[in-house]
Structure formats: structure tokens, C-alpha cells
């Protein structure tokens, strides 16, 4: 790690999201582990990423892929030990890779000892660690998130003979953050991992921490207060560490999670993601430029987190009904691809394995204002398996090579936590790291170059953005600026070649330097700047006064 850490390091980060279970199995039991992950750090370093987001790796009955934690102070035995984790953490830091741990605060597994105690009796000391009720009619203003599986946010507990509150699966009871003891214990959990050396947390499902009658039970002021208190302790005791919010909300509702810079450092820009896919299919910049119009300014020290795909479905909660229908029709005609209010598919299949589209979308990811996150496997164009239940189809083993189990594990294939992708298009024989590492023109090689160029300037991570509105609405163009450095980004969202005239009059006299080939383009003159772009092509230009 740098000897003089930059407090705003997360603004320059390129984050790689990985599930320990899915990345590399070192023991031959068919399940990825920390020792395996450590073995693959060189690969990640070569890819160019400088932060890892680890999905929950805590002990868990794994009824929700680890998002049902039964012990916050340990590592799931399948993934190794705390010692394995520490070794991995040190190895990552040695390579300049920061590690973000995902914490699920809102709820635990119903197998967590806290819940087991809580349900035992009304006078148990941990009774108030969860939200109990004699009826299932309270908080009826709260929506049900997992529409496909849950009928209510209340579940009957036959042991306790009362109802408990759960915003997600019924086996995930919500913690009661009105109880100061719960808040204190959660801080103890965070402190435990911070002291071990982790660089930050991705906090899951933060809008739902507090419940109040007559509200949607989302984004309540009391929830913000809980976060402020955690942040204050973090800044005081562990400066330079970072909090990332998972709050699937509209930008205006997300904005309070930054507050005045005293809540989260970063938050996912959920509404942007589906609109990038929408813009591509519509061949029209409108969805993207409009969502940025609706995106409020955030404090200087804060940052949006951008992503194309992740471990969940491509969520369509933050779109209108018309937009959702369109997205379903265009990206998930097969009903198997739909889950809850989203589409459970990986990047490459969503984009029909079109290399040009994949490059364009990654180009947008890396050049729009925010910190980009790459979901494991998307850098090589891995496919998915919609026949696996829930979201398991996008969580299959990493494809390292064309040999046994894709190089993921030496176990018998039947033992793997999940089958590898086998089909002729996306199967591991066709799509794998080893093959792509040998080709300078592979998607993987291209991604390495993209990340390298992205990291060559702080403008993308920290600069301002100004959208240009050329008459050609198939072209999305914007200027990123930081200090005296200016970068022009021009994206052709359509599958046909486009000509575009850009008003670059504020930059008259500048020479455009294309950032990948470093070739100069003609100087900006008095007339609109004419560019032609091939199908789905994009340019990044550094504007220089030469």
C-alpha cells in the first residue's frame, strides 16, 4: 500500500467484485477459498484493479449465498480460517490492492445465536435485538422486496409465538437498530475487521435499518442517524477507511446517504445502470443524460460507485413501468431470465456477446463520474446459466482455463458448489483467462488496457462532468475536467457508423490526443468539431494546448 495514504483513494479505485467461493478452490473441496483467492492476486494485479470487494464470507447456512450471516467474527469454514484471511489481506496489500468487506447489517441468519437467543423468551437479554410483534399488520406501508418468494415482511416464529420483521427472505430476521446495544455490537464487528486491516465496508441494504409506523420504512432519519454514528467512530478511530452504501434508490433519495460528507463515502448509482443498457438498445443517449440531470451534486469527498453487473439481478426497481417493460422485452424475453424486478444475466449474454457493445459499456463505466466496479468474470466475457435457481446463474465458478473444472478446482465436477458454464459459446473451453492471456486482442487484454488508461489520469475519478448535446442523439459526449486537465469522451451508442458535430468552442485551439493510441487529432477550430465513429465506437481524447 502507498506509504502516504490518500484519504480519497476510493475515488481513484477500480474495484473488482468477487465471491471467495467462486474464484479459486485451493483445497479440492469444490468451493473457492481465501488461499485460492490469494493465489490469484497476481492475476488481479495484472488486470489493473486496485480494490477488491469481497462478498460476505462469514459463517452462514448459505440460504442466501452468505447474505444470511450467523457469525460476524469469523470466516465460513469452507473458505478457510481467519488466519487464511489475514494472509490473503497482507498479500493483497503488498500488491497495492485494497480490500473491502461486505457487511450485512440489516439482518442476520435465523441461525445466528443472537436470533436463537432472542426467540427463546420475551425476557431474554437479546429479545430486543430483533423486531418482534404480536401481529403481522404493523408497518404495512413497507413494500415487499422479494416479490417472487415472500408474501409478507412478517414471519411467524413458532418458538417465540410471535411475528418477526424481515425485509428480505423470511430466514433473515431484521436487527433492531433502535436498540443501542445492537448499534454498539455492529460497531464492534466493524472494529474487529478494521483492526485486522480491511480498507472499508460495503454495507448491504442500508435503507431498511429502522422501521416506523406510517412510513415506507426506508431511508428514515433514524437510519441516517445510525450511519452517522458509525461513520463518526470510523473517522475517529480508523481514518482513511471507507464506507460504501448499497441503497437501491432514486438519486434524490440516495443523496442524504452522503449527507454533508458525514455518512457514506460512496454509494452505488443504481438508476444509472439499467439506463446504460437502455441507452444502448435504444441507440439514444436520453436515458443516460436524463438520469444525470436528476443526479444531485454530492460533497467533494464523496463518490458514486458505478457498475454494469453484479451478483444480483439487473435491478429494474429504479425505472418507470414503461422502461421496465422495454428492458424485459429487449433483454429478457425468456421469462427464466427474470427475477423479482430484474434480469438475472451477466454482461456478455446481455450484450449478445457483441465485443463492440461490451467494450463500449466498459468504456462508459470507466469514463462516467464515479468509481467503477467490475464483476468477476465479466473481464473475460463469462456467460451465465439461467437454469440455476435464484441468482446462482451469475455466480458460477471463475473460468481460468480450458481444463478440468475450468481450472477452478481439482474436485470432481459433481462436488463443485456450482456447475461451471459448459455451453459452446460461453463455456470454459471457449471463455477462459488462460486463452485470453495469450492473445493481445482478447477482451481480457483489452480490459487491462482500458483500466490502465483509466488510471493514467485522476480526471475520471475526480473530475467534473459536462454533457455536450450534439444534434446526433445517438452520440453521448461529455467533457471531464480536473484542474487544467480536460478529457473529451465521445460514445456512439448505435450499431451503425455515425457522424457528429461537437461544439467545442470553449476549447478552441486545443489539440485532441486520443488516449489509447496517443495519436493527435486535428486542432479545435472555429467550426463545430466533426467526428465520425464506427458502430459502438468510443473515443477518449485528452485536450491539450499545444
Amino acid at each position: 500500500m502507498p506509504s502516504t495514504p490518500d484519504a480519497l483513494w476510493y475515488k481513484d479505485a477500480v474495484i473488482y467484485q468477487v465471491h471467495v467461493r467462486a474464484f479459486q478452490d485451493s483445497t479440492g473441496d469444490g468451493i473457492g477459498d481465501f488461499a485460492g483467492l490469494a493465489q490469484r492476486l497476481d492475476y488481479l494485479q495484472q488486470l489493473g484493479i486496485n480494490a477488491l470487494w469481497l462478498m460476505p464470507f462469514f459463517p452462514s447456512p448459505l440460504r442466501d449465498d452468505g447474505y444470511d450471516i450467523s457469525d460476524y467474527y469469523s470466516v465460513h469454514p469452507s473458505y478457510g480460517t481467519l488466519e487464511n484471511f489475514q494472509r490473503f489481506l497482507e498479500a493483497a496489500h503488498q500488491r497495492g490492492i485494497r480490500v473491502l468487506v461486505e457487511l450485512v447489517l440489516n439482518h442476520t441468519s435465523d441461525q445466528h445465536p443472537w436470533f436463537q437467543e432472542s426467540r427463546k423468551s420475551l425476557d431474554n437479554p437479546r429479545r430486543d435485538w430483533y423486531v418482534w410483534s404480536d401481529t403481522d399488520t404493523r408497518y404495512h406501508g413497507a413494500r415487499i422486496i422479494f416479490l417472487d418468494t415472500e408474501l409478507s415482511n412478517w414471519a411467524w416464529d413458532p418458538v417465540s409465538k410471535s411475528y418477526y420483521w424481515h425485509r428480505f427472505f423470511s430466514h433473515q430476521p431484521d436487527l433492531n437498530f433502535d436498540n443501542p446495544a445492537v448499534c454498539e455490537e455492529i460497531w464492534n464487528v466493524m472494529k474487529f475487521w478494521l483492526e485486522m486491516g480491511v480498507d472499508g465496508f460495503r454495507l448491504d441494504a442500508v435503507p431498511y435499518l429502522i422501521e416506523r409506523e406510517g412510513t415506507s420504512c426506508e431511508n428514515l432519519p433514524e437510519t441516517h442517524q445510525v450511519i452517522k454514528e458509525l461513520r463518526a467512530k470510523l473517522d475517529q478511530q480508523f481514518p482513511g477507511k471507507m464506507l460504501l452504501a448499497e441503497a437501491n434508490q432514486w438519486p434524490a433519495d440516495l443523496r442524504p446517504y452522503f449527507s454533508v460528507g458525514d455518512e457514506f463515502h460512496m454509494a452505488f448509482h443504481f438508476p444509472l445502470m439499467p439506463r446504460m443498457f437502455m441507452a444502448l438498445r435504444l441507440e439514444d443517449r436520453k436515458p443516460v443524460s436524463e438520469i444525470f440531470k436528476q443526479t444531485p451534486n454530492i460533497p467533494d469527498a464523496c463518490q458514486w460507485c458505478l457498475f454494469l453487473r453484479n451478483h444480483d439481478e439487473l435491478t429494474l426497481e429504479m425505472v418507470t413501468d414503461i422502461e421496465r417493460d422495454y428492458m424485459y422485452d429487449e433483454y429478457a424475453r425468456d421469462k427464466h431470465m427474470r427475477l423479482n424486478l430484474g434480469i438475472r444475466r451477466r454482461l456478455a449474454p446481455l450484450l449478445e456477446n457483441d465485443r463492440r457493445k461490451i467494450e463500449l459499456m466498459n468504456g462508459l463505466l470507466m469514463s462516467l463520474p464515479g468509481t467503477p466496479i467490475i464483476y468477476y468474470g465479466d473481464e473475460i466475457g463469462m456467460g451465465d446459466n439461467v437454469n440455476l435457481g435464484d441468482r446462482h446463474g451469475v455466480r458460477t465458478p471463475m473460468q481460468w482455463e480450458g481444463g478440468w473444472n475450468a481450472g477452478f478446482s481439482s474436485a470432481d465436477p459433481e462436488v463443485l458448489y456450482s456447475s461451471v458454464i459448459l455451453n459452446p459459446v460461453y463455456g470454459y473451453q471457449a471463455v477462459n483467462v488462460a486463452a485470453q492471456s495469450r492473445s493481445p486482442h482478447s477482451l481480457l487484454s483489452w480490459m487491462r488496457r482500458l483500466i490502465e488508461v483509466r488510471k493514467s489520469t485522476p480526471v475520471f475519478g475526480r473530475g467534473s462532468i459536462e454533457f455536450l448535446y450534439p444534434q446526433n442523439h445517438r452520440v453521448l459526449a461529455y467533457v471531464r475536467q480536473l484542474g487544467r486537465e480536460t478529457i473529451l469522451v465521445v460514445n456512439n451508442l448505435s450499431g451503425s457508423a455515425q457522424a457528429v458535430e461537437l461544439d467545442l468552442s470553449p476549447y478552441r485551439g486545443s489539440v485532441l490526443i486520443e488516449m489509447f493510441g496517443k495519436n493527435p487529432f486535428p486542432r479545435v477550430g472555429a467550426l463545430p468539431y466533426l467526428l465520425t465513429l464506427g458502430p459502438y465506437q468510443f473515443y477518449w481524447f485528452r485536450l491539450r494546448r499545444l
Partner: protein
Amino acid sequence: MADESILSDDLLRQLISVGEVDVVVGLPTHNNAKTAAHVAQMIRTGLLHYFLRQRAVILNVDAGSRDGTRELVQAAAISDARDSASLHSLRTLRCISTRHVEGPGQATALQIILASTDLLRARACAVVSPASSSIEPDWMERLLRPVCSENCDFVTPIYRRNAFEGLLITNLLYPMIRALYAQRIREPHPADFAFSGRFGSHLLDLELWRNEFSRMGAEVCFTATAAAGGYRLQQSFLGAKGQVEQQSGDLVLAMRKTLGALFWSLEQDFAVWSASTEPHAVTTLGPEYEVTPETVRVNRKRLYQMFSSGLAELEPVLTSILAPTTLAELKHCAASGDDTFQYSDELWVKTVYEFAASNHRNVINRDHIIQALVPLYRGRVHTFLGHNRGLSAQVVEDRLEDLCRTFEHLKPYLLTLWTKQEGGS
């Protein structure tokens, strides 16, 4: 700009920006400030409502308006309709505008719309009259859906009309085209219509753009070309048609635009119409016709006077156009006086057919031929109004059906006149 260019450099630049689209809506304007903004707004609303997912562009082609029409259209077409959630647009809906210098005629505007549609590779294009003040958003659906979803090539409108409105159409264009082209197209000179990209490309290549008459009445040529070329036709009921203030002298212009274009088409399509047989119905979305029987205030006496004086004044010209028996019969009718004057269906059809054949033979200047028919048409209108006064809409419609059958019945007569000339030349 090269001499042959249809599209100005400025429009071309705008079209490049728009790129490929699914739907074009052309709005040709010339000093239509009173209605054009409303029409543009309805077009926009219709596109957002019915063609939410399609790539669409509104193309205003203005013939040099001096009343701010162009600016009003621009403002209306980009106005934010997002106050209604149902009108939220997925895409950018562009409205582009161009100005041409060739006066208020429709031909140049239509040619620009066709060329733009072709360049943008649009699947469908609707052309809407800026005077269509009664336009509703669902006109977009009714005009464009048959093209977009049912592979139709040409969609003509059906309006709710007064039985005594559009008499040039009901007494001449409709029955004649029906008889000759064997297609029952109620509005062969449509103000609002739609066409497929395929048909539009064909129209763009036609000779009609190089002939004075066919240019003036390009819409009639479109109809005839569609009927003759085996293109898929459909009619869509659009409801009431907005009234346009008529100006004196419009009749001569209207005859030039419609009959001149029809006569031009007959020359092009002889092989088709000479072989066509029983007219068949055109698929219609909505009622096949809808008329209201309101009485109209027309000075029939004045019509008769214009007929008889025209007949007398133009006798030397008519002698070269009409058969001696027809002319004699007309003179006999004229002599009977205003009260008993009757211009029968059969005599009217013979008159029209003889004019068509004379036009084909080019016996005199073709513009003079068209103008010579004007007073005779007035005589026919006099009779039509007198015969149908006070009758129900259905009876008027039945009588128009009789007229159509007379046109069909006498088609061999036209063929004889036409081919007789061919043999003699």
C-alpha cells in the same frame, strides 16, 4: 448545393444527426400559424403515446412562411409532454425543420419528405396537413400502424364529411379512379396519409416530379401509382376533417391539381387500368365512409349561369374535346333553363372520359383542357346539389354509388376513345 439536390445541406446535416428511424411524420407548412402548432403538438403526443419504442422524427418542411409558422411548430413539437406519466418517452423525439424556396406548392415539400424518409431508411412515413385542425393523437396510430404492423404501403384517410363537401372527389376523382384502377379509394387526393419506406422510395424515382401537372397533384399520383403498382392499400377513418377556408379561384387550381395529375397518371398506367376489371374494396380501419347531411348554402343559380356562359364561350374549345353528340346534349341541357337543367350521370361520365381522351390525344394545350372542364363541372355540381337536397346521407351515398357504376359501365367507352386515337396516330 448541387442543382439536382432535393435536400439542402442544412437539412442533410440535421438528417445525419437524426440517423436511421422507424417513423417519419412530415408536416408541410406555409403560413399556417393558426393551426400548425396544434397539429405538431398532436403529432408529438400521438408518437409518444402510440410509438413509444420506435425511433421517430417530425419533419417540418416550410415553404417560406412569414407568420412564424416554423417557429411555432418547433416550439410545439419539443414541448415537454412529461406532465403525464403515460407520455414519458424512452427516446429522443426529434423535430427538425427546413425551408424551401419553391413557393407554397406541396410537391417540393413532399419530395423533400420522401427523400428524407428514404435517407433515414424509415419504415413508415405519415404526412399530415397543417390545416388538419381536428387532428387527434390517434391519427398517428391510424395512419402509421397499418404500415408498421400490417405491411401496408399506402394508407389514405376517410373523413367524416358533409355529404355536399368534397364534390370534386365524390363526383369525379373517386368514381373515376375506382372505375379505372379497380380500387375503392374514398380519398384519392389525401391531405393526410401514410406510406411505407418501400413505396416512398418508388415514388421518389417516378417521373411525376418532372411534370407540371403531376407535381401539382402529387398526392393523386401517389394514389394512382399505389393502385396500379399492386401496393398494399388501406384506408383509415380519421373522423372529422378540419375546415379550410376556401378562396375564390380555388376550383381552377383544384382541377389542375387533381384532374391534371389523374390524367397524367392515366398516361403512365394505361396498361394497368385498361386491363383492370371489377373494383374491389380496400381494407378499411373504421367506417368505410361517414357522411352528415347538413345542408349547404350554395348559389345554384350562379352555378348554372357559370355553366351555360362557360359552355357558350368555350364552344370552339369544347368542339375539339367533346364528341359532337355530347356537346349537342350539353347545349340542349343548357338551353332548358336553371329550373329544369339536368346534367345526368351518364352525360357527366361521358364528358369526363372525353376530356381524358382529348388530354391523351393532346388536342390542345393540356392546361386549357383542364380549364375547359371547370364550367361543365359547375353544371354537374348544380345538378348534384339539386337532386340530393334534403335527402338523407344514405340516399346521397346510394346515388354516388350509382354514379360510380356509371363510370364503371362506361369504361369501355373511354377505352374505345383512347385506343381509337392510338390506332389513328
